[in-house]
Amino acid sequence: MAHFPKPSEGSWTEHFEIDTQPVSYADSISPEFYERERDAIFRRTWLNVGRVEQLPRKGSYFTKELDAARASVIVVRGTDGEVRAFHNVCRHRGNKLVWDDYPREETKGTCRAFTCKYHAWRYDLEGKLSFVQQESEFFDLDKSRYGLLPVHTEVWEGFIFVNLDPDNTRTLKDYLGRFGAGIEGYPFHKLTQVHKYRAEIGSNWKLFIDAFAEFYHAPILHSGQYVAEEAAKVKKYGYEALSYDIDGPHSMVSSWGGIAPPKERAMVKPVERALRSGLFGAWEAPDIGLATEELPPAVNPTRSKVWGMDSFVFFPNFMLLIWRPNWVLTYHYWPTSYNTHIFEGTAYFVPPENAFQRLQQELAVVSFKEYGLQDGNTLEATQTMLESRTLDSFPLCDQEVLLRHLHSTARRFVDEYAK
């Protein structure tokens, strides 16, 4: 029985004119396909690398390893306050310019100039080459031609994006499309209490997006997270989204749930009852200056009274989850090979006023981790069996429509780039 209405075509999948045939996962098990994705997707699209709060003052910087794009970038706030990004490569002999101890690990800090460890070539915060050791030994060296290579950088709602395609002409705002425009105005800048998690995952990057872009699995894989009676109920009920939407390469799912406080206290676990919090966050939402019904139009797009959270998938690898109790979770999936990637989950809360609120937030992030651990290991199990090629096509249901869209989008980018 349907709990929420579907489009007139009878299904979301047909509504978005996506075919309903079984799906191949050849795009997730092929080293060759991954090599093509690196050029066609990761070197050509806008990638979110962080937030402006990570660069609080002039000279604040962090590095970001973009293995999939064969790049490392330095993101820095200049003396003029502007956020810029540069390839993390010294112009002299190609040494990685900014790193500590381990060349492959990311770093951050504050400085007045970047100095190469190798021969002390120095660059100012705007990327200009400002000092060359023994400059007179060089041959007609024009320092103005040897600044750091800039990377296209734009900021949307405090989220810093880079685009490694030197020929890119599409603005970030245009790329983020209808969802980006419809989220603008959400007070992200008020959510400055950050918990960030990182995991190395043994699967293709798209498989983890798949796991978080459908909740068909939630009543089953995560049944142990509910009290027993509730687990039986949610399993029988299954999962249906409030709505799905697709805009170009991006997609979103709007979900019900997490209505707090729960109707019956017996529905929730003792620690949730004691802390008045859980996976969906604290039962009492902090003030963010907007009531639920005043949130920007792309958030809770159906204006449902039972709305719980929205998950936006910004292609290729940035997910933004906006939860009803006024907090935000972001996911990033950074491929390191065709069957491995680094996952980052970052929670953003309104800073807690007291120790109790701090504990309410801790329960939300620890719940996310417990769920994520279950998801992460399942992915490795999926990856190994897909790679066995025992089966080559898989039936996906209507609640998995965003998965079909993600994989077909990746294939389309690769095909179009090949032309």
Binding site: K269, V271, A355, G372
Partner: protein, 109 residues
């Protein structure tokens, strides 16, 4: 010897080794513990958390003292310990095998 925790939470003193800074370290202690050890900590700490709401709501994070900081961390440990005790029946997340998710950025307190 000085108290680790505020006087109202003296019953926690035998579990002072759960006042640990950082989610990663708290989780490491959880999975290195037996269910009996986790249950013993939970059985003492959980009722204190239930009764402690009003106290905790008065503890401001700006300028928080040492004893309150220890209390906060012990209750953070209780949160991670609640999963094995209330849900899993084992220290590790079931079917999580070799996978790990590590906290890399956390609040100062």
């Amino acid at each position: 010897m000085a108290n680790v925790f505020p006087a109202e939470f003296a019953a926690l003193e035998p579990f002072a080794d759960w006042a640990i800074h950082g989610e990663r370290a708290r989780y490491a202690k959880r999975i290195a513990s037996t269910m009996e050890e986790l249950q013993a900590f939970y059985d003492v700490a959980f009722p204190l958390l239930e009764k402690g709401t009003a106290y905790l709501e008065k503890v401001r994070l700006d300028g928080i003292g040492d004893e309150d900081t220890h209390l906060l961390w012990a209750f953070c440990s209780l949160i991670t310990v609640a999963f094995p005790v209330e849900s899993w029946g084992q220290p590790r997340v079931p079917d999580s095998g070799p996978s790990s998710i590590d906290a890399v950025v956390e609040p100062a307190v």
